[in-house]
């Protein structure tokens, strides 16, 4: 209770500050209390993200990556500190922070088209006409090249296709920030590579701000402008932020031998396996 009050007063002081970032994660703590036991998951997380940036969050499992994403999405609330999107505090989920869930989370009783249309109808009910909403749904299906399966149900398409639809649904909300929680984690390597390329292509075309959680070092280096590396929990925080200065568009095969790519990759690996190697108790 006291912590919430703190968070509120903090917000006001931050809002006064000039020259803020697009998305500001400001001194965020998160503790979970269950059955009298409190677990400190995140401690003093600070991160500012600019508009149009592609950020990856990487860390060992149990370090609170997903918790951080849930905090940004508003699905869980911060214990202390504040998350500000365009200077407004995030305290509830909303379509301006659309989430691509790890397991796609499509509604199985709706067709591919209806899954996206549900989001489009909800977000644009007041601003777009019926025809425009249909066109917008189809446009987003075409962004992920899934128009051909629009009348199929999620159970009738492959895992990669489901994740494409999940991405299309999130994009269709025209979010200020696109949040992705290990979006390709459940896919095979080839499908994953294709979807990574789709995401890169869409990001370069739409220029949206994106925060992605991953545990794949190559994926992080390939896609990101910056990689946020998290220390192991409990009480995890940001250990290091690595800027990836590779020119875009990036080609997977060309990068393999690029010294900058190799260096970035090595830096992340060193962080994960030398300085913050996986601790069993953190799992």
């Amino acid at each position: 209770m006291i912590a919430r009050v703190d968070a509120k007063s903090h917000t006001e002081s931050v809002t006064m500050r000039p020259g803020r970032a697009f998305l500001n994660i400001d001194h965020v703590d998160k503790t979970f209390a269950r059955g009298g036991v409190t677990t400190e998951v995140l401690k003093d997380v600070n991160l500012t993200i600019d508009k149009g940036e592609f950020i990856s969050i990487i860390g060992h499992s149990g370090c609170g990556k997903s918790t951080l994403l849930n905090l940004i999405s508003g699905l869980t609330n911060v214990t202390a500190g504040a998350i500000l999107l365009e200077d407004r505090e995030v305290n509830a989920p909303g379509p301006d922070r659309a989430v691509v869930f790890q397991n796609h989370s499509l509604l199985p009783w709706l067709t591919v088209y209806d899954n996206i249309k549900l989001a489009v109808d909800k977000v644009f009910s007041g601003t777009k006409s019926k025809v425009e909403r249909h066109d917008w749904t189809m446009h987003n299906l075409s962004l992920v090249q899934m128009e051909h399966a629009k009348d199929k149900r999620p159970s009738e398409i492959s895992g990669g296709m489901k994740q494409r639809v999940g991405i299309a649904r999130a994009l269709a909300m025209e979010p200020k920030v696109l949040l992705m929680d290990e979006p390709f984690g459940a896919l095979d390597a080839l499908t994953r590579a294709k979807l990574q390329e789709s995401v890169m292509e869409i990001h370069s075309r739409l220029g949206n701000t994106a925060v992605m959680i991953t545990h794949d070092v190559d994926e992080a280096v390939l896609l990101s402008d910056r990689i946020v590396m998290m220390t192991n929990g409990p009480a995890a925080c940001i250990g290091e932020i690595l800027k990836i200065d590779l020119p875009r568009p990036r080609q997977r095969l060309e990068l393999v031998s690029d010294p900058a790519y190799i260096a970035a990759r090595e830096a992340v690996l060193r962080f994960l396996y030398e300085r913050h190697s996986y601790v069993e108790s953190a799992a």
Partner: protein, 310 residues
Amino acid sequence: MSAAAVKLKLVETHAGPLPPRVAAVAAAEHVRKAEAVPPAPTKPAVVFARWIGRGIAQALPALIVTLVLLLIWELACSGPKASLPAPSKIWMESRDLITQPFFVNGPQDIGLGWRILTSLQRVAIGFGLAAIVGVLMGALVGQSQWAMRGLDPIFQVLRTVPPLAWLPISLAAFRDSAPSAIFVIFITAIWPVIINTAVGIRNIPQDYRNVAAVLRLNHAEFFWRIMIPSAAPYIFTGLRIGIGLSWLAIVAAEMLTGGVGIGFFIWDAWNSSKLSDIVVALIYIGVVGFVLDRIVAALGTLATRGTAAA
């Protein structure tokens, strides 16, 4: 296959930019190839033939067993001192009831089909109300921890009360037999609907709730777009148990309240010692109950297409 492969080659070998449309088509083909498309469904004619074949294979043993049982029954009840009528006697005495379900000879002398329809009408009203109220109550109990703690103990006690025990109370409350019979059906059928709906709603995956939260669905939208479809398999299980119970209750209720229904017919036949008529009525009830169960099950399958396979 070959066309797609050629296009794919094009994309891979040409280092320079392709015309965007070709690239897009090729990329789409690429995706379709890589992510295995499920096989096309079998032709309807083949499915139908297979279905008929399976039907015969399933019906034949049932037919044989029925004939054998009828034979045993005939032998067991053919003696002069038999207390129950044999099938041949039933056929002789109650042939009009079996062959003509829809005759009308007078206000109380009507075919069993009419009586069944009257009973079905009562069940439709009672069960319909139970379905609507049951799903709403179940949604409340499934969604709210507080409502669950408050209402669940009451439900658990009340659902064990036998249908007929409600009858005197409802007769006293409604002062009329028709609404009393409907109330007994309602109160009998509602519990499995409530309990199963509540379980279904408690089992809505967190993912769907998260989707709803991100989309900011309001309560009504959440109820119609997420809750009902997600809990549909559970709801239909409850409805299926409920329709069976209400068909059980109608017969008992009508025996006491009188009127035109099938239950009253049995009671009336018993009072005039027409045992053959009772047996025929029992078979009618059994067949109708079976059909009701199948109808609800089929509706459930239709309504939950895709929901079960997430």
